[in-house]
């Protein structure tokens, strides 16, 4: 642990948006050769601080010092030119271009003024290999899952030799293997003297990688600490302001024994359901009051499976039975009418309607289901919205705020509120805890358990296997877009068993 010289100093940064003071006099010091974690709850101001550093937002007051001299970056391009590379929260790439282009755009190798496509692909492939991502650099980015896109965004930041690397929740859609690889790269960079600013809601990751951390709460600085000196419970306490014991109680959500008796009819049955080029036909039963987890590697087809269950993609094989009767789920609308809801993993593109308010986003599905003629009375809307804002602790608790302006985690909560408001019988949650802070994550887990206890059927997808195991009664395992097996969860099923199943493809 070396107390090197400061590369970036932020002093007294205040950022205001119309009606919101997102940051209030925050300081941050980033030193050469350290990994510095930026901690805080959803909406604490982490992303805003990063954007203030890189010139996306202009601070109302405060100053930014990079390498000893005060700067006011005009934007990411400017920041990058001064050696500050950033991966922003939410993937910000061009889905219409190839993977290689997304990595190299702006830094392409050129010959006689023209981009040297071959060299560009080669260089991109090298960077991808560094993170052990095996995708064709010539394929178009939009065809890849969010995880791959996230990795590509990281590659992009590594293209130039940077003095400062800023990573805003790069791991939220990665699984453990990817995270490990990212950490290896980060350590190498750190040892080369790069200063890394890192945001994550996974405490284990923070303790595994960071040397020092800065904690924010409600847009204010709580303090700067050495990671080694700060026990977890202390950290959580500083972040949230409440004690760790309260949290642990939440986190230890009751895991019920097998809910549905074996003889009971499943609420929902997928029989040989499949779609060419997407996922091979599979069977899946979900009982009322049951949480079925989906486990698998990135790209194993969990999302594809979820989409077929909910009519989001149209199946070209097999059938779906609801209460034992065959139903056709041709569109999400048809599914919703039968009280089947799907919360997509890509909340920016497929979840939220950014320019609508929190209120409108929450009631959207409910209203769509009622039809346009039967408008929800304003009072009902207020009731619903207030209830969910309180229940999920959405911040700011302002129903009239544009969802676009909410922090990532709070956006996720709004999305969740939308589906809960429709009171579904089957709720398919694809990565519902992505980008959510510890407190809220525990809250959501507790909520899922509670919903199941109240009789809802839940399909739960998460890149975090522990979470899946903790919550589900049964776990379906996927590999290479094939459902390879199913595990009935109990206290003596361990993480290793699932990993083995994923690796071997044989049920234990």
């Amino acid at each position: 642990m070396h107390d090197n010289e400061a590369v970036v100093e932020l002093r007294g940064i205040t950022v205001e948006f119309p009606g919101v003071r997102a940051l209030d006099g925050v300081d941050l010091t980033l030193r050469r050769g350290e990994v510095h974690a930026l901690m805080g709850e959803n909406g604490a101001g982490k992303s805003t601080l990063i954007k203030a550093l890189t010139g996306v937002y202009t601070p109302t007051s405060g100053r930014v010092v990079v390498a000893g001299s005060p700067v006011a970056f005009t934007g990411p391009a400017d920041a990058q030119a001064s050696g500050v590379s950033t991966v922003y929260q939410e993937v910000n790439l061009a889905p219409n271009l190839t993977v290689a282009e997304n990595i190299m755009l702006g830094n392409e190798p050129r010959r006689f003024g023209a981009i040297d496509v071959r060299a560009m692909r080669r260089r991109a492939a090298e960077l991808l290999a560094r993170l052990d991502v095996h995708v064709d650099p010539a394929s178009s980015l939009g065809a890849h899952s969010l995880a791959v896109q996230q990795l590509v965004a990281i590659c992009r930041a590594l293209v130039v030799d940077c003095k400062v690397l800023v990573l805003d929740e790069p791991t939220s859609s990665l699984d453990a293997g990817e995270v490990e690889k990212l950490f290896t790269v980060m350590r190498t960079l750190r040892d080369d003297g790069v200063a890394i600013l890192f945001v994550s809601h996974f405490l284990e990751q923070i303790y595994a990688i960071s040397d020092r951390m800065t904690i924010l709460r409600n847009g204010r600085l709580v303090g700067e600490y050495r990671t080694a000196d700060l026990p977890r419970r202390e950290l959580v306490h500083l972040m949230i302001g409440s004690s760790f014991e309260d949290l642990e109680k939440l986190g230890d959500a009751p895991r019920r024994e097998q809910a549905a008796a074996d003889g009971a009819e499943p609420l929902f049955q997928a029989v040989a359901l499949g779609r060419k080029g997407s996922i091979r036909p599979f069977d899946l039963d979900v009982h009322a009051g049951e949480v079925v987890g989906l486990a698998g590697l990135l790209g194993s087809g969990r999302t594809e499976l979820s989409r077929l269950l909910t009519g989001t993609d149209r199946a070209d094989a097999g059938k779906v039975l609801l209460d034992g009767r065959p139903v056709r789920l041709a569109t999400p609308r048809a599914a919703l009418r039968r009280k089947i809801a799907y919360s997509s993993e890509d909340r920016k593109a497929e979840g939220l309607v950014g320019d609508l308010t929190v209120r409108e986003n929450i009631v959207l599905a409910l209203q769509a289901d009622r039809g346009w003629l039967r408008r929800l009375p304003a009072r009902t809307v207020d009731e619903i919205v207030d209830r969910y804002i309180a229940a999920l602790d959405i911040r700011p608790a302002n129903p009239a705020a544009l969802v676009r302006n909410l922090s990532g985690g709070n956006q996720q909560k709004v999305l969740l509120a939308r589906w809960l408001a429709t009171a579904p019988r089957l709720l398919v949650l694809d990565e519902p805890t992505r980008g959510i802070d510890v407190g809220a994550k525990a809250e959501i887990q507790r909520l899922v358990a509670q919903l199941a206890a109240d009789g809802m059927a839940v399909v739960f997808v998460s890149a975090e296997l522990e979470e899946v195991l903790r919550l589900s009664h049964r776990v379906a395992v996927l590999r290479d877009r094939v459902k390879v097996g199913e595990l009935v969860n109990s206290d003596d099923v361990h993480l290793g068993d699932v990993v083995d199943l994923i690796a071997s493809g044989e049920a234990s």
């Binding site: 601070p59 609308r333 799907y342 950014g354 408008r375």
Partner: protein, 348 residues
């Protein structure tokens, strides 16, 4: 923020300023501009005239607002205006007694029905076949005038029919019927979009179609409906236009009205990228454009300069309205303040 600042910051502040400036200019040029007189119990005057001239444009723009809110665009409204006039007048001309109310009502219903068909056609191409709106409606924009000419056999159909003429230049309760009709339609649309959930669903489809689909919004039905409504309003406008001169001019009726309508919608603050829409903004936009046209005539400005004049007003309004300009100014102020503070700190 003071009250004055709040008003200045309002989205419609600059369009309204432009409107008022135009009205004032007209009044200075010819003081009778603002006078209203009552003749045979009907209100007359330049302002009334202006409203009457703006009525068809308002109708078309209202439909266009909804279409644009879903991220679409309808280039065919001009052609639909022509078709409505052609069908309406041809039907009245073919009736045994063109002057009878029955014949006229039949003609109106027939014309509007044809327009609904036209709207269904556009909606089908856009929402079912998934053709880009600009091209989908370009088809009817091109073919529509041909269809109108086919109906009128290439002639300018003329008829005398008092009840028909009323929709263009009649009066009711002292006010021109087109103005009343347009106001009624505007009120209906406002009610329909803001008192039902239609507005919310339309906006949601316009902002993020895929997210809306997954949220169970019947995007297809909504997009389709919106095109039908747009064509229906254009049809109504077409009846007014044809009744105004009692002639169905397939070539020139509603020529370039789509551009004016889009302009009105945009001046009113609705983004062509879809999403949030503002009906009152559209109204202001329509008034600005109509007043502009009238002003050019009033000022006896040589026809040569008309487009220049239009360009200047449009640019002026858009620049003044531009959020970028204000933000830039605000940012400059902020930056100046922060560097001053920094300097003070260094000095200290």
């Amino acid at each position: 923020m003071t009250r004055v600042q709040a008003i200045v910051r309002h989205r419609l502040f600059w369009p309204v300023v432009a409107l008022v400036a135009l009205l004032v200019a007209n009044t200075i040029k010819n003081p009778t501009f603002v006078t209203l007189r009552v003749l045979d119990g009907h209100l007359f005057g330049a302002i009334i005239n202006l409203l009457r001239q703006g009525a068809p444009l308002l109708l078309v723009s209202l439909g266009m607002t909804l279409v644009i809110a879903t991220r679409g665009i309808d280039l065919s409204v001009g052609a639909v205006v022509a078709i409505a006039g052609a069908v309406g007048l041809a039907s009245v001309a073919g009736a045994p007694d063109p002057g009878s109310l029955g014949a006229v009502l039949t003609a109106f219903v027939l014309a509007l029905a044809v327009c609904v068909l036209a709207g269904m056609w556009n909606g089908f191409l856009v929402s079912v076949l998934g053709i880009q709106p600009i091209i989908a409606t370009l088809v009817l924009m091109t073919a529509g005038r041909g269809i109108a000419m086919l109906i009128t056999d290439g002639q300018i159909t003329t008829v005398t029919s008092a009840p028909y003429k009323a929709i263009g230049s009649g009066f009711w309760l002292g006010l021109p019927i087109p103005v009343l009709l347009a106001a009624a339609v505007m009120a209906a649309v406002a009610l329909l979009t803001r008192r039902t959930a239609l507005g919310l669903l339309v906006e949601s489809v316009g902002i993020n179609p895929e997210a809306s689909r997954i949220a169970g919004v019947g995007s297809r039905a909504i997009v389709w409906t919106v095109y039908v409504v747009c064509a229906l309003f254009a049809g109504l406008a077409g009846l007014m236009v044809s009744a105004d001169t009692m002639a169905a001019d397939a070539n020139n009726a509603g020529l370039f009205i789509e551009l004016d309508a889009i302009l009105a919608v945009v001046i009113g603050g609705t983004s062509l990228a879809g999403g949030k829409f503002s009906l009152s903004g559209t109204l202001v936009g329509v008034l600005v454009i109509t007043t502009l046209t009238v002003t050019v005539g009033m000022m006896s400005i040589s026809p040569s300069v008309t487009p220049l004049f239009k360009a200047v007003v449009v640019i002026a309004v858009c620049l003044a309205q531009s959020p970028a300009v204000r933000e830039r100014l605000a940012a400059r102020r902020r930056r100046a303040a922060s560097t001053a503070a920094a300097a003070a700190e260094v000095a200290a």
